[in-house]
């Protein structure tokens, strides 16, 4: 009898234990829940409203993400300034005016993208200015001077701007693969009445600012016709061929994808890849994200009260889910982020609600009573949105703009350690942010094996409808069982860096190896009494961007690349013996990191002039005589 009672007790205990395990498991993966904190942090925007785009970036490099909000003016309220909220930890302050980033155009702005245009490792700003009847309405370019004071350098693209523009979405990336950042903008024409007019034939207008490499840009047409009014735009390598493609949300014609041929020339491939059918008349947002963790970019198109989700299979898209909502808002921006840090990307629609991913890319509405997004549903005319971990607690928070009411900041309440973040401090060309870089998270020890891929991110600028997430890749990375991860970063030129054995709960700062600086070469005569030897002494300086240099490689560039030496990281000079004093030589030095990644070369030409004489002993004697 006692034994039977014990057995029942044990069964009950087992059941309780299992229930406890289940509960623990549920909470260990976290729940999606937000708290609206815009008033607490003073980021609600201005009473005259007009919020459209939003971008996150740490513009003053203080380790805290700042917010840039684009405001549109109206006929009743002109010259609405943009907002630059500087993050001071417990509060934000709008400093757009004092920092030179408050666009002065009467009808305001729509899109913007933070991007490091000049390799100085801060975020410059490209802002679209939307024509509203007052000329000129040119897109603006601002250079960050390093501490978030912006200089208007629109003059560098003004020669390319000969007409007023109705730009909405903008994009920035190295489209032509030449190593510098180019700019793309939508609607390169002034007529706002053309919103609903389809051009026939399509107009081939210059809608790229191609970077000349010297700080100036040239406006060019690169194959993207103006076929109708365009709203949001995004960039990514949807076909995995190593270049940056463009997707664009359209009014009228179907939203579409433009494939890059690798040289920065684009072709509309929407129809052939499965986007031939329009989802509705007015698409506002478009986003690429790998929602099923298979390593390619799936697609979401937003507008007309629905989100159409397309799965990427061998670079072809097929629509597999449509999300609708009851509230009569048009639908603008769709965000993808792992809000619960469970390893897959969840979804948030601006001004609506959050949706949980089942791990296969299928999304289920999370009622606002669970998600805490009641205030999101109260927004009258929500527009852009963007994700960032503004409080550095490892989860993704949301900022949403509102055209007719206050903006909202939703703080994620997850606060667990099941996350990894990767910030590209310097990409293969030395740009901060790493637009175009791909980041793949694998179970530790399985880099490159698709079955163990835990997340795929591509760094982009704007996406959806005029929203730019923080330029930091965020992964949900459950730590249960002591899990560790390997992160592989692939830059646009194909070079990779792998960070192995990462423990969840940390941010990885990714920096490619940058070339050494100030390489100089000098011919020197080394004298014996009966022999004159010509030396070439190469000297360089370490690049302060590098923190992981293992060796320097020295090359002679003469009908090819001939490696002369591999030197330790502590050595900053190399002497070549018995050289031809009359010959012109060309040398290169690269830096190599601990993973074998080699920087771009720094080169120097040593001319054929006579070698210089240098003798420290003679100089010492001369000095002694003078003294």
């Amino acid at each position: 009898m006692i034994q039977e009672r014990d057995a029942v007790f044990l069964r009950n205990r087992s059941g309780l234990f299992l229930l406890g395990l289940l509960v623990t498991a549920v909470f260990s993966f976290g729940q999606i829940h937000f708290t609206e904190v815009s008033a607490q942090f003073d980021v609600r925007g201005y009473p005259y409203f007009g919020g459209h785009g939003v971008s996150w970036a740490d513009v003053n490099r203080d380790g805290r993400l700042d917010i840039f909000v684009k405001n549109q003016g109206t006929d009743d309220l002109l010259a609405v300034p943009d907002i630059l909220y500087i993050n001071y930890g417990n509060y934000f302050v709008d400093e757009a005016g004092t920092r030179g980033a408050a666009d002065a155009y009467a009808y305001g702005t729509h899109g913007a993208v933070f991007v490091d245009l000049d390799k100085d490792h801060d975020f410059d700003l490209f802002v679209s200015t939307t024509y509203g009847g007052i000329s000129p309405a040119y897109n603006h370019l601002y250079r960050n001077n390093g501490n978030a004071f912006f200089e208007d350098i629109t003059s560098s693209i003004v020669p390319a701007q000969t007409t007023d523009l109705t730009t909405r979405g903008v994009a920035a990336a190295d489209f032509d693969g030449d190593g510098d950042i180019d700019l793309y903008f939508t609607n390169p024409l002034p007529d706002p009445d053309s919103y609903n007019t389809l051009p026939s034939p399509p107009q081939s207008l210059p809608n790229f600012y191609i970077n000349n490499g010297d700080g100036t840009f040239t406006a060019e047409y690169r194959g993207i016709d103006w076929i109708g009014f365009a709203q949001g735009v995004t960039t990514g390598d949807f076909d995995g061929d190593g270049d940056i493609d463009i997707a664009q949300a359209m009014w009228g014609p179907p939203s579409t994808v433009y494939r890059n041929n690798g040289a920065g020339h684009f072709r509309n491939v929407g129809g052939p890849i499965g986007l031939s059918v329009s989802n509705g008349e007015f698409d506002n947002g478009i986003a690429w994200a790998d929602v099923d963790n298979d390593g390619d970019l799936d697609l979401a198109i937003v507008g007309e009260g629905r989100i159409a989700l397309y799965r990427n299979t061998d670079n072809l898209y097929s629509r597999y889910q449509v999300i609708s909502w009851a509230r009569p808002i048009g639908g603008f921006h769709v965000c993808f982020g792992d809000f619960d840090n469970d390893g897959d990307l969840d979804l948030y629609l601006s001004g609506e609600n959050a949706y949980a991913n089942d791990g296969q890319g299928n999304f289920t509405l999370i009622p606002e009573t669970e998600s805490g997004l009641e205030d999101s549903l109260k927004m009258v005319d929500p527009r852009g949105a963007a994700l960032a971990d503004f409080d550095n607690d490892g989860d993704l928070d949301i900022y949403v703009t509102n055209k007719s009411g206050y903006n909202r900041l939703f703080r994620n309440d997850l606060n667990n350690s099941d996350w990894l973040e990767a910030e590209i401090m310097s990409d293969h060309r030395g740009y901060a942010g790493g637009i175009g870089a791909k980041l793949d998270l694998y179970q530790a020890g399985y880099v490159g094996e698709p079955a163990y891929l835990k997340g795929h991110r591509e760094i982009t600028g704007e996406y959806g409808y005029l929203g730019q997430d923080m330029p930091i890749a965020h992964f949900g990375a459950p730590a249960a069982g002591g899990a560790k991860y390997d992160l592989r970063v692939t830059f646009l030129d194909g070079t990779q860096r792998v960070y192995s054995g990462l423990t969840p709960g940390q941010k990885v700062q990714v920096a490619t190896i940058s070339p050494p600086l100030n390489l100089q070469g000098e011919k020197i005569e080394n004298k014996a009494l009966f022999y004159r030897e010509t030396l070439i002494e190469l000297t360089w300086e370490p690049n302060p961007l590098n923190d992981d240099v293992q060796t320097y490689k020295v090359y002679e560039l003469d009908q090819g690349q001939n490696m002369l030496a591999e030197l330790p990281a502590t050595q900053f000079s190399y002497t070549l013996r018995n050289m031809d004093k009359n010959k012109v030589y060309r040398f290169a030095v690269t830096a190599v990191d601990s993973q074998g990644l080699e920087s771009e070369p720094t080169t120097v030409i040593v001319n054929g002039e006579a070698p210089v004489e240098r003798s420290e002993r003679r100089e010492a004697r001369s000095l002694k005589r003078r003294l």
Binding site: I524, E525, N526, K527, A528, L529, F530, Y531, R532, E533, L535, T575, R577, N578, E613, R614, S615, E616, R617, R618
Partner: protein, 205 residues
């Protein structure tokens, strides 16, 4: 150079003193006899070449020997035919890389000199020719092991003897050499000033 001029002045002064003395000679040396001396020399050779000075320093010690055949003309005047040789070795450093160098200069000379021999002292002065062989050896890091060669030149020498006994004399001299070579493809001045002293033994015949 100042030292050389000073030395010459002192020598001339000494010879003047000797000439001003009564002509009763101290018969250390037999009159009107030819003699032949052999001697050992040592001293310093100061090369003029600036590169040499940069690499090796201003001078280098040497040792050598000399044979002199004296033909009296009318005492105390006479002519000497002298042949000698010296060798020097010096270590240095290359100008920029400061790698080890080693230079050996070997010098053979033949000179015809006027001599004035008072019996106690003798002075001489005369020109001659030089034959210099050189070998410079380099460190392993150098593309070649060594450079060697030879070159002829001219010299002018002067000095004096102090006759200690009828067979033994001390000698001090100065010699200015002019030897240049451009065989490596550039000009090197192997000339310079040689200061030396020696001891000589005299044979009569």
């Amino acid at each position: 150079m100042k030292k050389a001029i000073l030395f010459l002045a002192v020598a001339l002064w000494c010879s003047g003193l000797a000439l001003s003395q009564p002509q009763t000679r101290i018969k250390l040396l037999p009159d009107e006899e030819r003699y032949f001396t052999v001697g050992l020399m040592g001293g310093f050779y100061f090369l003029q070449d600036q590169v040499f000075q940069d690499l090796y320093g201003k001078g280098a010690p040497f040792f050598g020997g000399e044979m002199t055949l004296r033909f009296p003309i009318r005492e105390p005047h006479g002519m000497d035919i002298a042949a000698g040789g010296r060798t020097l070795t010096k270590k240095g450093l290359t100008s920029y890389t400061e790698e080890a160098l080693r230079l050996r200069l070997t010098d053979l000379s033949l000179s015809l000199r006027y001599s004035y021999d008072t019996g106690r002292f003798a002075l001489f002065l005369g020109p001659g020719i030089e034959y210099v062989t050189y070998r410079e050896t380099y460190a392993e890091s150098f593309p070649i092991d060594s450079t060697q060669g030879s070159q002829t030149g001219l010299h002018l020498t002067g000095g004096g003897y102090v006759h200690l006994t009828s067979a033994l004399s001390l000698k001090a001299y100065i010699k200015y050499c002019r030897v240049e070579t451009d065989k490596p493809g550039f000009r090197i001045n192997l000339g310079g000033t040689e200061w030396g002293v020696g001891i000589l033994y005299r044979f009569y015949f």
